[in-house]
Symmetry: none
Subunit: 182 residues, 4 copies
DNA sequence: TATGAATGAGAATTCATTCAT
DNA sequence: AATGAATGAATTCTCATTCAT
């Protein structure tokens, strides 16, 4: 891929993320293209359609999240500490998009699932798996209560840090972390 | 108001609530009308426009919530118990709609706020006030931790019970309640 | 026809005329009914449809015009004087409606002409005939120039006095009358 | 602006003028688009909405009228002759549209006047000013009667030549011109 | 009979997507 | 390859007309 094409593609993804965060899911393709300093045509050269763009953005976010999780896991810290560090990372990321993507996909029914969606779901599952491992470890270490499943721990964790406007150390994250303690 | 008109109006509100819960905010006026067994025209006889319909539905939900809160407050129970009882009520109600209404209103900017929206915001504020009183009481009773404001308690509470798919006693509500304890 | 039905009918015609004059051809049936203090249902009991109502209104106006013309003709005045007296009458009447009716009818093509329209056209022709007689007499008396047909005299006359906002003695009517002189 | 876009825009304006003249103000956007050999979307790319399209058409007509008036004024002819030449020009133009635009604008009330409407009114005023100058000159030259204002002369002039179906030399224009003579 | 609620076809408008320049 | 003009299906909303109360 040529350098300028790559640059354009990244600009689109970034701009779309910003606009989506700022103005909700109603932003039009035209607006995204314009905000990225491009024409719609160029946008469609890079992404097959709106859904495709959203999926790719989701992939982008997930890739970065996976990288972060992997690097934290590599540092061999206690699970509880990893969860706390992840709060810091996640609250700064536009993870809310992942939720709406998941909902949109669910709506369509399992059958009509795009290739792009399948890839994302795959990746999502992988990342969730990693996170659940961390949660499980934290439970085995006695830091997190044992009366809920690791999956539920992560569900909770996501609900908290993915919520729009989440900040590390705000009331909701503090209560969530305290509530998770054994 | 004629009996049949009243009945239709209620059907519309109920149907719209169901569809909105089931299929997200993208449902069209036509779909709502069809699902209610009516023509679009009838929707527009009862509600000025799409926004108006949504606002009225929000009012409907809020009125019922206020009634519930008032009745609980009237029973002079400890604040903590009221909060727990409210979990049971709220998780069965389509409160998520209130959030999306609030977001939509915010988008338009303060100036362009409709009369309907203003009323709803008013009512919302009233209900929130009642809830914060309950939270405050629970804190003074020593049941809820004191390091967060009553407003934050309620914010948390809402985030948990308004989330789509919330069930009383599920992991998220349990953790939230445990995290709130003093 | 019962007295109250007659009264309702007249109210509708009068109200419709007023609204049409005041707010243009965009007034809705509902508005007309409401302004007449009735429901739409009642309106449709008296008139088959919108077009029918307009035609009837046209008939109403035409009947009164014919009566006026006949009475003036009966007074055996010189043609020129009759024309001048008619200016006074016509500028106070909502004759503009007749033009728009004529245009609407023309649009539909000759074939699709309603029974109501046919009657009105008939009556219109009769009145025009009477007026042309007057014009012809005025020409024979030497008061009106002879280089245009009586039909043209009346066309002119109508264009002037039917124009919205026409007042006897205003610039346009004076110029028209002066221009018509032999 | 791209050449083809320019061409399409002009086609739209021309087609709309024709349809409006032929079928009255009820023509739909879809019809205009179809008649221009385009999709509705294209109309909306070029004009913000129906009103916007009409205003632009009005501007178009007015610009051409102003150019004509200016060129006639530049030829330093007697006022009376200019008026007569203008009859020839005006009767071939769809000036009736300007009247209906003025009425539509008036209906909305002064406050809600669009930017487009304001521009048009401005231009209309300018052209009317030019025409009144010509009328005034014709009066000073002794060709036009002095007992009416230049404004009234032009009002009359417009009423005659803007009327649908006006032809130079038809009865109405001849009478108007004769009536205006001193 | 009078009323006004219900209906649905039709008009304006938006926006994802395609295609000519 | 980039651009933005063109497209038309989908959506909101209106209003003449019908029909239940």
């Amino acid at each position: 891929m040529r350098a300028d094409a790559r640059r354009n593609r990244d600009r689109i993804v970034q701009t779309a993320l910003d606009l989506l965060a700022e103005r909700g899911p109603g932003v039009s393709m035209e607006e995204i293209a314009r905000a990225a300093g491009l024409g719609v045509g160029t946008l469609y050269r890079h992404f097959p359609d709106r859904r495709g763009l959203l999926e790719e953005i989701g992939m982008d976010v997930l890739h970065r999240l996976r990288a972060e999780v992997r690097s934290l896991v590599g540092r061999e810290l206690p699970g509880w500490e990893v969860l706390n560090l992840l709060v810091g990372y996640c609250t700064g990321q536009p993870l809310a998009l992942l939720k709406s993507l998941a909902e949109d996909t669910a709506e369509d029914g399992a059958g009509t699932c795009t290739v792009g969606a399948r890839e994302r779901i795959e990746l999502q599952r992988e990342v969730t798996g990693l996170l659940e491992e961390i949660a499980g470890r934290a439970q085995r270490e006695g830091a997190v209560r044992g009366d809920i499943t690791p999956g539920e721990v992560i569900e909770l964790f996501s609900a908290t840090v993915c919520r729009p406007g989440a900040r590390p150390g705000d009331a909701m994250t503090r209560v969530m972390l305290d509530g998770l303690r054994a």
